[in-house]
Amino acid sequence: MRYLPLTAADRRAMMDVIGVREVDDLFRDVPAAALNPKIDLPLHKSELEVERILSAMAAKNRAAGAGPFFVGCGAYRHHVPATVDHIIQRSEFLTAYTPYQPEIAQGTLQYLFEFQTQVAALTGMEVANASMYDGSTACAEAVLMAGRVTKRDRVVLSGGLHPHYAAVARTNLDLVGAKVAAVPLDPGGTENLAALIDANTSCVVVQNPDVFGNLRDLSPLAAACREKGALLIAVVTEAVSLGAVRSPGEMGADIVAGEGQSIGNALNFGGPYVGLFATRQKYVRQMPGRLCGQTVDADGKRGFVLTLSTREQHIRRDKATSNICTNSGLCALAFTVHMTLLGEKGLRRVAMLSHEAACKTADALAKVPGVKIETETFFNEFTIRLPTNASEVVNALAAKGVLAGVPGGRLWPHDPSTHDLLVVAATEMTTDQDIAAVARALEEVL
């Protein structure tokens, strides 16, 4: 077996040193009946065979790059420079562990420090952690943290929050018995959340741009939260939007939970992604997840370490701020490398090109008979209402090689009022030909 360095002779010699006759002597604590069961699985395969099997599976999926593509709703197809993948594949990054031995992990630690600084700047917040699993779990952790900070147990989830995010938050809140205020779906982005805040409300969770693509001014809501002692949690599922639209920090958010996938990371069918988590300095000891901090070494040189681990499970155990252990280090590195290449200048450009492509797409679709644009102000994603079931339209368009967006029925299968909605996203990768193709195909289908 190509991955196993020991030869039969090695094993023999090592058993002699250990003083056993066969390897199963080392498994003598295992109940005999349970040892070496018959398992119905195939034997080892050559690299070539494995490649063939997996390539055949991959070939049964339609890659986004194979044609016009307008799918978003929490995962976006932006261009990632080749440099990013090269760097994250370097052995020293790819095959290192969590930087528990900082003397020989300064590479990982320094990029985490840079990542934290980038995320804080981008979200307009004071501090950020070293990443979470993804945006949805970051959002759930934010809600739990708001409970710890405010010692309240009622949560208001916006009707414009991505339904998966809402579901994950609910799952976690259910476990600790917290309550969730029911807010109806809000394709127009005009709900009045401030009115729902009561004295027991720990936080209001609102997404911007929301799942329908609406841009929202969070400032009034932030003021209302402040007044009533609740925290405002802003969710951002399209990190690139922060290159063009006002940051949650500017608008007064207390915690930002975001998905960082669209900077540096591929679509990957939903994972691995990288959760962004930023907040105010004063809440830092209530934050979940890993934090990298600056310090000095015995020679007085600047260096970085994981810090405030008294919040974490491996020290604090059942009193930890979260059970999280693994972060999304390599995806955070991809984010940081891509963001370093972009810089503010490049990020603004990607953002505005995406915005312009979305505007053009909206204009083109608006001309298709029967289509109604539902989203007034948007960044790179908007919602249209179709005269018929959007899922069926999407399937018909897929058969024509066009992946047109996310139908309401996929996100809210049990809410028929959404089933004629289609959420359409564009990025800097969207070409004029793509736009013409989707408009033409849609016209044919309708």
């Binding site: 196993l4 090592m14 990982t108 699993y133 490398v337 312009e356």
Partner: protein, 489 residues
């Protein structure tokens, strides 16, 4: 050459990407961001050099042994990386029509079948994003099952050994349980009699790692399972150490109700300096109905996803658990893990477990001449030592660990498990050759001898690393968590 932070490179007005000039049309209106964000941009050569230089300050498996106990730092085949980057896996969107991702769904289903076969359990939840997330998934299923039995309010206590990973109590607490610890017996295993005394009608579950964090197989595991089940509780097994027994023992045969599997430990998806991981959870018949959404169903030769609880109920799948994450789990890790499994096959997986155990015992045998094993007898996949052999020398476990850095090795896990004084937990994994282990053992024996001789240089190790010992106390006292422009300080 010391490498500055990207923020110190005077590059707030540069970019390392070429993009066409936007036309300048904006419909963002009042939502438009103004003011500087404060993000530096570096040209491509500068970016490359910055991160290559940073990388060179890291230690990694590809450079040498990484014997962190409990972390299973094994070889990460590049085939897996290549496969995960096939456009048919990397460039597909989680919300594309399911008809356009049949290969992806098939892969998830196939991986699930492998996990089921290897664990002997009837079901698996694929979406958890890491080990701790898997624990959450398993304990959530237990809670849901108790609710279905109407006992959620009465069964609030979860038992876990003192030697447990910190994630166990943290997860239990996050699920609203109270944690009660089980003592260990003199052999480093759960004290069965003591456990039985702790059992009662308020016990929801027991959380046991097996092989446990002392590197030992819980030889009473079946009795433990029986006792817990008899008391009406569930048996959660922490699968962090599954690498020692994969292909050799099926948890399902031992009475386990739920166990997470770290694909990034047992099945070689890379650790990446701290993640991403992936933590599918296998579930017993009793818990299977409480698996979270989404999951893949094979039907009429095709695959589809069940994405909501109501949809699950509609399919007659019973209660169904809530959603743990957006989308469908760590697809990129699934591809890598399946690539690993297909490559090894059952024979390779079993051999890997045997080699992992053999390597650990070889290290144990070679080091016990100078160092003190924490417990008697053979170990499983990791060898645990305590600091008795250094008693009175002033040299402590941390000094020993840092001295290893100077010898060119990553230290082992230290001060864990908590039940052993000055613990040093060495997990070589199956990826080390005998030649490499011999060099490694020679180095450790030499450090041990120096420690016994009270060599003062050990107290200030490492001397040959990108940094000397770092002041962690100062870092925590006044945390500096981000770069700030000098004029803003």
């Amino acid at each position: 050459i010391e490498e500055s932070l990207i923020f110190e490179k005077d590059a707030f007005d540069k970019t390392g990407v070429d993009l066409p000039e936007p036309k300048g049309t904006s419909r963002l209106g009042a939502h438009a961001r103004d003011g500087a964000i404060g993000l530096p941009g570096l040209s491509e050569p500068e970016t490359m050099r910055h991160f290559v230089r940073l990388s060179q300050k890291n230690y990694a498996i590809d450079m040498g042994p990484f014997p962190l106990g409990s972390c299973t730092m094994k070889h990460n085949p590049r085939l897996n990386e290549k496969m995960a980057r096939l456009p048919g896996f990397a460039d597909i969107h989680p919300l594309q029509p399911q008809s356009t991702v049949q290969g992806a769904l098939a892969l998830i289903h196939e991986l699930a079948e492998w996990l089921i076969a290897l664990t002997g359990m009837p079901a698996v939840a694929m979406s958890p994003k890491a080990g701790a997330h898997g624990e959450l998934c398993g304990m959530m299923a237990i809670k849901a099952a108790l609710e279905a039995r109407g006992e959620a309010q009465t069964r609030k206590r979860v038992l876990a050994p003192e030697s447990a990973h910190g994630t166990n109590p943290a997860t239990a607490a996050q699920c609203g349980f109270r944690v009660d610890s089980i003592p260990a017996d003199r052999s480093g295993r759960v004290d069965l009699a003591a456990l039985k005394e702790k059992l009662g009608p308020d016990v929801a579950a027991i959380m046991v790692t097996n092989p446990n964090t002392c590197g030992l197989f819980e030889r009473d595991v079946m009795a433990i399972a029986e006792a817990v089940h008899e008391a009406g509780g569930y048996f959660y097994c922490d699968g962090a150490n599954f690498n020692a027994i994969a292909g050799k023992v099926r948890p399902g045969d031992l009475g386990v109700d739920a166990m997470h599997i770290n694909l990034h430990k047992t099945f070689s998806t890379p650790h990446g300096g701290g993640g991403p991981g992936s933590g599918p959870v296998v579930l017993s018949e009793a818990l299977a109905p409480f698996a979270p959404v989404p999951y893949v169903v094979k039907e009429n030769g095709g695959y589809h996803l069940v994405e909501t609880r109501r949809a699950a109920e509609a399919e007659g799948e019973g209660h169904a658990g809530g959603r743990l994450t957006a989308f469908h789990g760590q697809m990129g890790m699934f591809v890598r893990a399946l690539s690993y499994m297909l490559s090894h096959g059952l024979d390779g997986i079993r051999q890997a477990a045997e080699d992992a155990v053999l390597n650990a015992n070889y290290v144990l045998a070679r080091l016990k001449t100078e160092m003190t094993p924490a417990f008697e007898g053979y170990c499983m996949h990791e060898a645990l030592f305590d600091d008795r052999f250094m008693k009175g020398t002033g040299v402590e476990t941390i000094d020993f660990a840092k001295a290893m850095i100077d010898e060119g090795y990553h230290p082992m896990t230290t001060y864990f498990p908590l039940v052993v004084r000055g613990a040093m937990l060495i997990e070589p994994t199956e990826s080390e050759s005998r030649q490499e282990l011999d060099l490694f053992c020679d180095a450790l024996l030499s450090i041990a001898r120096r420690a016994k001789a009270g060599d003062p240089a050990l107290k200030s190790a490492p001397h040959h690393a990108p940094r000397r010992r770092l002041d962690e106390t100062a870092a925590a006292r006044a945390p500096i968590l981000r770069w700030t422009a000098p004029d803003r300080e």
